[in-house]
């Protein structure tokens, strides 16, 4: 492959004004021409809704696809904590430069400086836009916007709407989108699941979708295609993602030639409600703000099954406070997760299967009173009580790390365009500015920066620079993509109750296979990774994929919709992606951010980064029937020099 294919198109010259200079240099399109240009947006989360609304406001003809019944259901709705912006309203010394630095350092020097700087620059305008839409952010008594401290940052730059910031930001963006639908500038297609990307002469021109109610395959064509379809934490089966969140759109684009960057960079959130029963379908996040008042501990004696309240103080191990006297319970997400896992594996874990640790509010309650703690964390404590059946004010909460966010995703350049020309990737779906580890409250910021501000400018530049030959659904490329999707569906379906492949085909729920994949992935490619285990997991995965190819079938009951078929199609794509994650984790012989390789740690058990060999973005090329090829984009730092983290 030629080097030019991985040209990130980074701006030259000083970082501080780079985005403004880039934007001013981008070509424009006249309003009358914009009306003739079509943009297709897949996904209606923060990135998709904001991009679609803004592109329509600018005059493009926009079509929007979502697998949900309504754009408001996208999983951005579940984000709790808040959104960062460098506004320095708190007058605590924050600035664009500080947010930029924190993002680069938080990502453990595996993100591009130019992208991180642009994100910090845009952050303030996002807050302005959301407030103007009527997003009800938390306020001080005087009427100014409130900010809180989040995720170990030294300044208060996180804007929030109680514990439902994602919901409120999403509704702002969705309402902006629906306003454009009413004005007939956006056509909204709900209950559509993308199955294939259409490329014509190497350029992205549309997608093939399956209508989830009618079961029909539909062809959507456009002059530019935007994927804003979220992350892939559900490769682990149990995660904090919505149960239908999936990687199919980005995986199908990858199979059509879009490089996939840093797939092994996945974030595990330390404070989630642990899994219990074998039929459990998802894990629920508890905002890590609880670590401000909760003390994390385990019994000193392995296998101690006593009621936590009857374990005396001397027989408790407050392991984070012991190991990290400076940061204590507030160490970064990956460190907290790793230490909890190690002790659980050593037999100290509590709860079902010994897979959780205590987060104890008792001391905070003794200090501030139950009322104060309840008002501080009200909805969280209620949610915990509802799910676990225990009262967190009298019994220590049980928590465990859970897959939460994926920093990896489709490779994009500074213009958010993938290696397939005309295919733009936004939000969690791209590999973006979070490097090897995302800061708390930065996901919402990135999704909205991409959608409201960056993509509308760079998509315009793409459309201005290209001739767009007319393509219709009868074009050979469309017919080929449609046939590929139809073939995959046909291969999965068997008549209800019978099975030509194996006895009882279609009689085992897809979920059972997905659960197996999840267990394999969380053990080999979760909080901690090790070369031998990754290699063994690749073999196990190959066997599982083989078994799925032979056994995985779905009964056709004669109804046009078929939720099991949807699950099977998604699972096939997760199987492919899982293999790529294992390969990427194996190839990255260093520990950085959320990627911890046991072979690469200091004697104290801390991550050891290898800037000499791995200061780059790994971008994988799909090759049908052959092993994928790893390309790399070197990372250079001019404003901030790489340093090692230390939280002890």
């Amino acid at each position: 492959m030629s080097r030019t294919r991985l040209d990130p198109r980074l701006p030259e010259g000083p970082l501080a004004s780079a985005w403004q200079r880039t934007r001013e240099g981008l070509p424009l399109i006249s309003p009358s021409n914009k009306r003739r240009l079509r943009v297709l947006v897949v996904g209606t989360g923060l990135a998709g809704s904001s991009a679609a609304a803004t592109l329509a406001e600018q005059g493009y003809r926009v079509q929007v696809l979502t697998y949900h019944d309504s754009p408001r259901r996208a999983h951005s709705v579940a984000a709790q904590g808040g959104i960062n912006a460098a506004r320095n309203y708190a007058a605590d010394g924050d600035s664009v430069e500080r947010l930029f630095g924190d993002t680069v350092r938080g990502g453990d020097f595996r993100a591009r400086e130019a992208g991180c700087h642009r994100l910090a620059e845009i952050s303030g305008a996002i807050i302005d836009q959301c407030v103007a839409q009527g997003v009800p952010f938390a306020r001080e008594y005087g009427g100014l916007l409130a900010q809180r401290n989040f995720g170990g940052a030294l300044v208060s730059r996180t804007f929030y709407a109680r514990g439902q910031t994602g919901q409120q930001l999403l509704y702002g963006a969705v309402q902006a989108l629906l306003r454009q639908v009413e004005a007939a500038r956006v056509e909204l297609f709900t209950r559509r699941e993308m199955l294939e990307l259409i490329t014509v002469d190497g350029v992205a021109r549309g997608v093939i979708c399956r209508h989830r109610l009618s079961g029909e395959l539909e062809t959507f064509l456009a002059d530019a295609v935007v994927l804003a379809t979220g992350g892939y934490s559900n490769v682990f089966h149990l995660s904090t993602n919505a149960v239908q969140s999936n990687a199919s759109a980005i995986w199908r684009a990858h199979c059509r030639g879009a490089l996939f960057a840093n797939p092994c960079f996945t974030q595990i959130h330390p404070t989630c409600i642990p899994s219990g029963d074998g039929d459990q379908s998802k894990l629920t996040l508890m905002s890590e703000s609880l670590r401000n008042d909760g003390r994390i501990w385990l019994p000193l004696q392995p296998g101690d099954r006593r009621d936590p309240n009857s374990i005396p103080e001397a027989e408790r191990d407050y392991f984070l406070e012991r190991q990290y006297p400076t940061y204590g319970n507030m160490v970064p997400r990956d460190v907290a997760s790793r230490r909890a896992r190690e002790l659980c594996l050593a037999g100290h874990g509590v709860g079902p299967g010994g897979r959780s640790v205590y987060l104890d509010l008792a001391e905070a309650i003794a200090r501030d009173g139950t009322g104060a703690i309840e008002s501080r964390y009200g909805n969280l404590l209620e949610m915990y009580a509802r799910i676990s059946g225990e009262d967190p004010t009298t019994t220590p909460m049980r928590i465990y790390p859970a897959p939460h966010y994926t920093m990896g995703g489709l490779w994009v350049d500074y213009h958010l365009m993938s290696t397939i020309p005309g295919l733009f990737v936004l939000g969690e779906a791209n590999f973006s500015e979070h490097g090897a580890n995302r800061l708390g409250a930065s996901a919402l910021m990135q999704g909205l920066a991409d959608g409201y501000f960056i993509a509308p400018a760079t998509i315009t530049a793409w459309l201005a620079g290209q001739p767009h030959p007319a393509v219709n659904a009868d074009h050979p490329a469309c017919r080929e993509a449609r046939a590929a999707a139809a073939a995959r569906i046909a291969a999965l379906l068997v008549p209800a109750g019978r099975g030509p492949v194996a006895a009882g085909a279609g009689r085992r729920p897809v979920e059972a296979y997905h659960r197996q994949l999840g267990q394999l992935m969380i053990e080999a490619c979760g909080i901690s990774r090790q070369g031998g285990q990754l290699r063994a997991a690749l073999l196990e995965l190959e066997a599982l994929a083989q078994r799925c190819a032979e056994e995985l079938r779905v009964s056709d009951h004669g109804t046009p919709n078929n939720p099991e078929l949807e699950k099977a199609l998604r699972l096939q794509d997760f199987l492919g992606l899982a293999e790529l994650m294992l390969r990427d984790a194996l190839a990255r012989e260093e520990s950085c951010g959320a990627h911890f390789r046991e072979e690469h740690q200091s004697p104290e058990g801390e991550a050891r980064r290898d800037d000499e060999h791995f200061a780059h973005i790994a971008a994988w090329e799909h090759r049908p029937g052959a092993e994928p090829v790893r390309h790399s984009e070197p990372l250079t730092y001019s404003a901030i020099q790489p340093s090692q983290r230390n939280y002890r």
Binding site: D69, I127, R139, R179, R507
Partner: protein, 249 residues
Amino acid sequence: MSDPATTICLNLRIWRQATADAAGAFASYRLEQVSTDLSLLEALDRLNGQLIAAGERPVGFEHDCREGICGACGFLVNGQAHGPQAATTVCQLYLRQFADGDTLVLEPFRARAFPLLQDLSVDRSAFDRLLMAGGYCSVNTGSAPEANAILIGRDQATSAFDTATCIGCGACVASCPNASASLFVAAKLAHLGQLPQGQPERARRALAMQQRMAAEGFGSCSNHLECEAVCPKQISADWISWMRRESWR
């Protein structure tokens, strides 16, 4: 190692209807030894596993986030939208709410504006069309003034937030004898109408959304207040009275 979990047996009577046009009927199922640590939707997952193993069509129901915020799930449990627990969506309804041997009758939300799709699934896209009529502030991206330029008192912001938390699940409509969307519409009018940013379009928005509500086939409010009782976000029906006054602005 594992703590013994409590298990119960449940009898389920579920509305089964293959397509919008097909005839529907209740069917009976039994779940044996199901952990009370599971949510009702996870119990349905398990039932569907049994149906798939038996070569039968699984029960269709809407769901996604399973943490009570996306608003996708919702059906009647023993006649109550989202079941017996207050301020809870059905995905957050755990089996410890029920006793061994209980019979649960599950049926879809029924309202003219929510056509039935299959089993427990209905089409709630009418809600999006209500928002399209005016549930927004007409500001284009990039033209917003500085965020702190307009002060908003803390109580006012909190009250606006409380009405903005509606998740669009449709329980209010399903529980109303008139299948009215008054609480849904009032919540959106109150969210935007309490904020300075929502003032320029306030009167027009109130009129347009209420007219759209009638056009979509939702009924009117006659103060039964069932909507408030079932709302998983506990939005107050007082806002419906507030909406009435908006019509006279």
